[in-house]
């Protein structure tokens, strides 16, 4: 048998990486068509950087990601603390539900909520519920359960006598929380924030349905979706997609490296 037994695993890894390699290769094509190889060229990267629509799309993606991750981390951590300290089975079940409901159902529901109810209700008051807060609201809703699960896993390891000791030594409950509980939870809170951010940057369904109605609000994934499959699609999409791949892989690489360093 020997080395042959590694063959299925090697084939699976090739399957995972081949499309990424092909996509990257086709971002350097000199052809005008996204799916045709026509010699080497960097022209499409130049086009990406010149495209005036991409700056706002990148800005929107990051704004939604940072705003939703911050909110979801605060809300999810508070929820985790509360659920870990007292029994609330109904709330506990509700908090897990977004992990189980198909995302498209939630996304369609948000479309109905915003388009049919919230926007018409706010319009007479002169208030406009624009796309950015709508997308953030949707993202926070599906991020909260992930933050809660991650933080609760760490809370289970917290020795309650530590907080009791702080209180015995004269700390107020707020001081005990800020100086004992929170520092202990910090790694999990940070992990929850990173998870929320990557979920937001990756999201398509909720963003797509929350922005339906032609408001013109676009994130990078929406931009790729809108450009893809159109007649006359140029390799500019390939270049943009390759840049996005490179950026997220770079981020994961750096975070793994930082983790290794902090453990060493």
């Amino acid at each position: 048998m020997g080395r042959l037994k590694f063959l299925p695993a090697a084939a699976a890894l090739a399957f995972l990486w081949a499309p990424i390699a092909v996509l990257a290769a086709y971002s350097f094509t000199a052809s005008r068509h996204a799916t045709v190889w026509g010699g080497f060229s960097l022209a499409w990267y130049a086009r990406v950087f010149e495209n005036p629509a991409l700056g706002p799309a990148l800005g929107n993606t990051l704004a939604v990601g940072l705003a939703s991750a911050t909110l979801a981390t605060a809300l999810g951590t508070a929820l985790a603390l509360s659920l870990e300290r007292r029994r609330a089975p109904a709330l506990d079940a509700l908090a897990h539900l977004p992990l189980l409901v198909p995302e498209i159902v939630m996304a369609v529901g948000l479309l109905v909520l915003f388009a049919r109810f919230l926007r018409p209700a706010l319009a007479p008051l002169g208030l406009e519920f624009s796309s950015l807060p709508a997308v953030v609201a949707g993202h926070v809703a599906f991020q909260i359960p992930y933050v809660m699960v991650v933080v609760r896993a760490r809370l289970k390891d917290l020795d309650p006598s530590l907080e009791e000791a702080a209180l015995d030594l004269g700390a107020t409950p707020a001081q005990a929380f800020l100086r004992v509980t929170l520092p202990f939870l910090a790694p999990a809170v940070l992990a929850g924030a990173c998870l929320s951010l990557s979920l937001s940057l990756d999201d398509f369904y909720v963003t797509y349905f929350c922005t339906a109605g032609g408001s013109g609000f676009r994130t990078l994934p929406l931009h790729i979706y809108a450009m893809q499959g159109r007649a006359g699609m140029t390799p500019e999409v390939n270049a943009l997609a390759t840049l996005m791949l490179g950026a997220s892989m770079g981020l994961v690489g750096v975070s793994v490296w930082l983790q290794r360093k902090s453990h060493a």
Binding site: F6, L16, A18, L23, A34, L79, R85, I104, G109, Q228
Partner: protein, 276 residues
Amino acid sequence: MIKRAAWPATAWLAVFFVLPIALIAVISFARRTPAGLDYWPPALDAYRRALEGVILRGPVWNSAWLAAATTALCLAIGYPLALTIARARGAWRHALLFLVVLPFFTNFLVRTYAWFILLSPEAPLGRALRACGVETPLLGSAAGVLLGLVYGYLPFMVLPLYASLEKQDPALLDAAADLGASPWQAFRRVTLPLSRPGIAAGSLLVFVPVLGEFVVPRLLGGGKVPMLGTLIEDQFLGKVRPNWPFGAALAVLLMLAVGAALVPRLRGGKDAPWAA
């Protein structure tokens, strides 16, 4: 203080999760009239339409068999990979895990788009197939959609499998060998049964989201492989005659199907899907 800490998150989930789904449920019982939606009395028109033969034989059947086939293929490809990683040592294990996780953290839409290029008739794969006499293009076929689905969801299968295989004590295999089992017998009678929770968790993480998938059939199916997700989107955002009650009824039925798939896991208590 702790008591009130749950309120903001609860309120958020109530408004932006529970309320939207409740609205979908209400709309699914509405009746379409020229003046708009008529909510009272509740009507079953949308459900009747959703359970018509054309719908069941088309999008519903496609979603069901593609979800089942994707789960089976992910298991077939993912199990040897997870086993190899779990049995690798030190630096090798870290490197292999990294190679699996890295694509997982890149954008799903970008990864699906990569298959759009790979499957296009002008790309090397398409030309090679034509040279072999296969004339049907992969792009816009069920096979193309299946490939994209397997690709997109493979990491969801590999990671839970790895987590359960990695926990197994290697001494069990030594014991099996000492007792005269061949490597294949040891795998069949020890490794495989012990990895059952990983298989169940991975299968669920693949099967459930694929049922509601709409990006992959849209991008790689080219409108020729309708699934539940694309049909639901058509009813809400389609250019031709959107039908909210029909779309809402499909969404409710999708939720019920997912609920049915989850029941055996939920009854397991500690084995709840999120515990995996």
